[in-house]
Amino acid sequence: MLKITNLQASVDQTPILRGLNLTVNPGEVHAIMGPNGSGKSTLAQVLAGRDNYEVTGGTVLFEGRDLLPLAPEERARAGIFLGFQYPVEIPGVSNVHLLKTAVNNVRKHRGLPELDAMDFLKLIKNKMALMEMREELLYRSVNEGFSGGEKKRNEVLQMALLEPKLAILDETDSGLDIDALQVVAQGVNALRSPERSMILVTHYQRLLDYVVPDYVHVLSRGRIVRSAGKELALELEERGYGWLDDAAPAERTPVRAGAR
């Protein structure tokens, strides 16, 4: 599904990703953990095509196709979804309008008929019930005046509607209380399938109690320095990230991750 090889990316000439390798197969859930500034969000944004990150080296193949030349909207249509760490507020654009435009744009490119207003509302109300979202949020401006939890639920709602092949959730758990976290996790779990892969970028182990990953990777200074099964998350919770500095030499041998 996704094969990242020796990926290097910078922001304003400052290298952030320094040779990252990661392979994600269909149906797998990978958690990427690491301290602040390790490059987690950069990875998520680069995969979604944000253009203020400059890719300076390496390759990213998505279903065998070179992802890097594609515009963000082309990546979305190809099946990549990014759940934002900080969902953007868009005053004046109603949430329902965004959702409908997005769904129909993606459907069109997948050769599916566009949904009319009735079918769309039926679909969205189902998904909103799953996310325990109030219908009123549909008619408000995108994310404007939403609570932190509502914003994150709105991200998962968009994911549920767009049915991506690869979902990248960037700290979707940050700032959520336990109830909201459970709802978000429930939404994410409902989308798990043998065809759909997920990358969970997270700072906390807690999310992984609810969405159990197949692999956990530790990112440090722009590289994956350790990969293991879900038990790694618990270890990180106990030990923190301080040991990464001591483990720095390990960076020289890239760890092959996610092979099956």
Partner: protein, 438 residues
């Protein structure tokens, strides 16, 4: 006009004065002559005039446009097409159409008016009952050279008079259609609401693209005690047109003015809106939206004069500029000594879609009272990159995403408009124009 534009205007006057409406009224002939003298002394404004610092009318002075005796009207067919296109559905009750500067009854539908309401063309009103108009036409000095020129040449326009307590439920649509290049039209509208009267007026300008023509408009609005006037101006002149308009409002105690100026068309457009609070407790909201691309130039000058206490004014202008377009916004708020408890707030936000577009925005607050609340804010920005990326990451084309954001920006002004058909029309025009604005 060419070479010496001032002389051309004087020659136009010598040629056409006898043929202007009300030519047999001595007071009006004197008024026209005085106005012409004022214009002759002043001439057209130059960029040395503070009020015209960012707007040059040199192109207008050089344009081949003239006042013609009987209004050289273009074809009826062209007028019909344009009138149909500009028609507002449903909620509009009274339509007066002016074709190339003159009232066109065959395109109009005045509709049923309540007793106490009078709606007619200015030329007809001058013919039938000039004494009713006289108090609202007489003016010693003119705000600008264009105002003076308008007084000298004013040929037609609308006269709406509402007697005490008269409420016009349905909006009035005044549609000014220009189909004939080379013409100058001096349009004069007079809107008078006596005590407690209410009306909504949509002043709408539309014209064919191509060669230059010039509309020089003056609209005078009187809102007596506790009267309420909603005034929408929709400017969709043809691409080669010059459009200069002055809207002058006098508000008496407890009166309300809701003004909205939408500017989409013309090569050069300048709109001055001025209101004076002559009694306590007046309210005014001045909203505006301008959209310009290519080499369009659009200028708004507003002036809210708080002369009496307890006045409230809200001003909210937004502009979207692409290409090499240029916009000017100047918002003056004056709070006179004694106008205590004034509450004035002004904003002007601009969105630049291209590197070469430019805006000059200038709030001007002159405050001579100490117990007042006044604030203002102006911004000039570009589309938000984070918002754009967010939309695109949801599979929405870059072009569509930009349109969505620009529309949302403009919607902020449009949604304040209470006439549903106008709002819908504006949304349609807007989505049509966004593709070409970049």
């Amino acid at each position: 006009m060419r070479l010496d534009a001032r002389s051309t205007c004087l020659a136009d006057f010598a040629r056409t004065a006898d043929l202007l409406p009300g030519a047999d009224l001595p007071w009006l002939a004197r008024l026209r002559k005085d106005a012409l003298d004022q214009f002759a002394q002043r001439g057209f404004p130059t960029r040395r005039d503070e009020d015209w610092k960012y707007t040059s009318v040199a192109a207008l002075e050089q344009a081949d446009v003239h006042v013609t005796a009987h209004g050289r009207a273009g074809s009826h067919a062209a007028a019909q097409v344009l009138a149909n296109r500009c028609e507002l559905a449903g909620d509009v009750g009274h339509v007066l159409v002016f074709h190339d500067g003159r009232y066109a009854p065959w395109l109009s539908a005045v509709g049923r008016l309540p007793s106490g309401a009078r709606l007619a063309s200015l030329a007809d009103a001058l013919e039938a009952a000039p004494e009713a108009l006289q108090p609202y036409l007489v003016q010693e000095t003119h705000a600008s050279a264009f105002g003076a020129l308008n007084a000298a040449f004013m040929a037609d326009g609308a006269f709406l008079h509402l007697q005490r307590g008269t409420v016009l439920e349905a909006p009035v649509h005044l549609l000014f259609i220009s189909t004939q290049p080379g013409c100058t039209h001096h349009v004069r509208n007079v809107i008078v609401a006596e005590a407690g009267a209410q009306a909504t007026v949509i002043e709408h300008y539309a014209g064919v693209d191509g060669a230059a023509y010039f509309n020089n408009v003056v609209t005078r609005i009187v809102a007596a005690e506790n009267a309420a006037i909603t005034h929408h101006k929709l400017q969709q002149e043809g691409g080669g047109a010059f459009h200069v308009a002055g809207i002058e409002v006098a508000q008496q105690r407890d009166s309300r003015l809701a003004s909205c100026s939408i500017a989409f068309g013309a090569a050069l457009a300048r709109t001055d809106i001025a209101t004076a609070f002559e009694g306590r407790g007046c309210e005014a909201s001045l909203d505006g939206l301008y959209l310009a691309g290519g080499t369009q130039h659009v200028d708004h000058h507003t002036r809210i004069d708080h002369r009496q206490p307890h006045g409230t004014s809200r001003e909210h202008y937004r502009g979207v500029l692409g290409g090499e377009a240029r916009a000017v916004f100047n918002g003056k708020v004056i709070v006179r000594p004694g106008a205590q408890k004034t509450d004035a707030c002004q904003t002007n936000h601009n969105l630049l879609l291209s590197r070469d577009a430019e805006v000059d925005t200038k709030p001007e607050l002159e405050i001579y009272a100490d117990d007042v609340k006044c604030n203002h804010g102006a911004t000039v920005g570009q589309l938000d990159e984070a918002q754009l990326f967010y939309l695109r990451s949801r599979g929405i084309d870059a072009v569509v995403a930009r349109s969505l954001l620009v529309q949302a920006f403009a919607q902020d002004v449009i949604e304040r408009i209470r006439v549903a058909s106008l709002r819908t029309r504006l949304e349609t025009i807007l989505s049509g124009r966004l593709g070409e604005l970049r």
